[in-house]
Symmetry: C2
Subunit: 330 residues, 2 copies
């Protein structure tokens, strides 16, 4: 069943008034690749721009098994109890399963899904060639314009999405477990150093002693790292999402960091840089899409990659060859 098309005015009014159904439809519009949708989405984004930027943008990452869903449920519950309106955007580009699977995320976070001050939305990854970043940023802006005060962007922590998410948030939280290190296997290298806070989950029952020790170890380790340009020293916190303990601490840390970076001017600087990077990423995405979806390129790409992999063809030659094919066509 196809829904009737909405006017751009209807979208704008709907989003700005915080209408959930119209916000959801506006998000779908912004995720669409159909040319008429893209230009309507552009008009919508342009109109809402003055109403964006006011939320605290928090990236949350961690490998499967760390308890991300429960953490977001509990921590999200706390955030709404503080009178904040919360939007939760989830990204999992490694899995096609979640594509549009709103029901999946709502089952995963049952309490939050019923919470009138929370809004949960999975990010459709759109195309295999990226698109995660630009679409999610647009969704974030829509949620801000719709009056959400806090935005969680959840990512799975094992692929490329964490770096993208780190580039679009004000605070980056790494969720971990205390243990022998097995749970670290899946975390991408470099992520730990990007975290503004490492939160050790499941610090409950018999786990508490190990968790406390891990906290000290991580705190010591993070002191050895290069200081963030913001001047913020990453904090390590313990929590039990299940028992709802330690969550106030996590909220405090975010407040503290936000105060510090706003006072130092880093907050504004970072937001401006992120905007410009977003432009560059978008340009790259558009260029790559045009290139890799070109039929001439597609007809030879696998063959070329194989030769490069085997060392039969230097990568530079291969790139020049592909580029010539592409330019000849345009």
């Amino acid at each position: 069943m196809k829904r009737s098309k909405l006017s751009t005015e209807a979208y704008i009014d709907g989003v700005l008034s915080g209408d959930r159904i119209l916000l959801s439809r506006a998000i779908t519009l912004c995720e669409s690749h159909r040319p008429e949708d893209v230009s309507q989405a552009e008009a919508l984004l342009m109109a809402i721009m003055p109403h964006t930027g006011k939320a605290v943008r928090i990236g949350i990452t961690g490998v499967p098994g760390v308890g991300k869903s429960t953490f977001i449920e509990s921590f999200g519950g706390l955030v709404t109890q503080k009178g904040k309106k919360l939007a939760v955007l989830t990204i999992d580009p490694s899995s096609q399963k979640t594509k549009g699977s709103i029901l999946g995320d709502k089952t995963r976070m049952e309490e939050l899904a019923r919470n009138p001050n929370a809004f949960i939305r999975p990010s459709a990854s759109g195309s295999a060639l990226g698109g995660v970043s630009s679409k999610t940023r647009s969704v974030m802006l829509l949620c801000e314009a719709a009056g959400f005060d806090v935005i969680f962007i959840e990512t799975v922590g094992v692929g490329q999405s964490e770096t993208l998410v780190h580039g679009m948030v004000d605070f980056f939280l790494l969720l971990m477990l205390a243990g022998a290190g097995d749970e670290l296997q899946g975390i991408k290298k470099g992520i730990m150093e990007m975290a503004d806070a490492v939160v050790i989950n499941k610090a409950d029952g018999p786990n508490q002693a190990v968790a406390k020790r891990a906290k000290v170890d991580y705190q010591n380790a993070l002191h050895l790292f290069p200081m963030d340009e913001s001047g913020w020293l990453p904090k390590v916190k313990l929590c039990s999402a299940l028992e709802k303990t330690g969550l106030e601490d996590v909220w405090e840390v975010i407040q503290e960091q936000q105060e510090q970076v706003k006072q130092s001017g880093y907050f504004q600087l970072n937001r401006q840089r992120q905007q410009v990077n977003w432009l560059k990423e978008n340009v790259n995405e558009l260029l790559e899409t045009a290139f890799y979806q070109n039929s001439e390129i597609q007809s030879v790409l696998n063959d070329v990659i194989e030769k490069v992999e085997k060392g039969e063809l230097p990568a530079m030659n291969a790139a020049n060859l592909l580029m010539k094919k592409f330019s000849d066509q345009n």
Copy 2:
């Protein structure tokens, strides 16, 4: 004074016979952007491909002041004493000063410059829009074909070049100082986690005690990090490049890691992936160069960036607008 042009055959023979002067000229050819040079460089690379891949490729990074030049002098000296032929490629994309400044690097590493088994070559960054990566890889291949057994790729450790260098080497070495952490200020976040070895330099005289302590601290910290896919656990070593101590240890660690990854099959896998990534990076570079050097784009780019920075224009809209200008022209 313009030198006479060489035939592709002359370049191939010169490189394969290990002739220094012809190798230098072949490198200049590969760094050139002139279309006739590019196609001659392609023919040259194609011809030498079967003779590449045999060197140990070592990335060396660290902020200014850490003693990189002295380390490369001393460690490079050790490598040549072991009967190895060493090529040192230096990259500093943050500075335009080193562009072609061979003399600068040779003064910086006087002993190595006089060493008949060493070859020092700075990488001309070529264009402001990257090019570091693709050019340096080509130079690396030329050096391998010319019979060099060990290649150092030196980078300054504060920009984007470390990630690029990490993506083209077999072993990534981070040079550090023991101290209050001031020397860490400039290191880009995430670099520490990428290191296969952290080498603490200037572990001499009264510094020794602090250095030993730092070694333990870093070793503990690195244990808390996600294990590398290769299965290699990063090592921390002490050295004094000035007093030429600890350098054997560093060489040992590289040997140990190489043995391990060759046995596990990771070495080959990593090399293959690097080749394919190199292709993709080259394609991106070519696409970006075509885009950002387009006169229509250049005429509006600054204005568009300013509007995006100020939040007046959504980045998605800006990207679509630029892309339309670009496509209309092609």
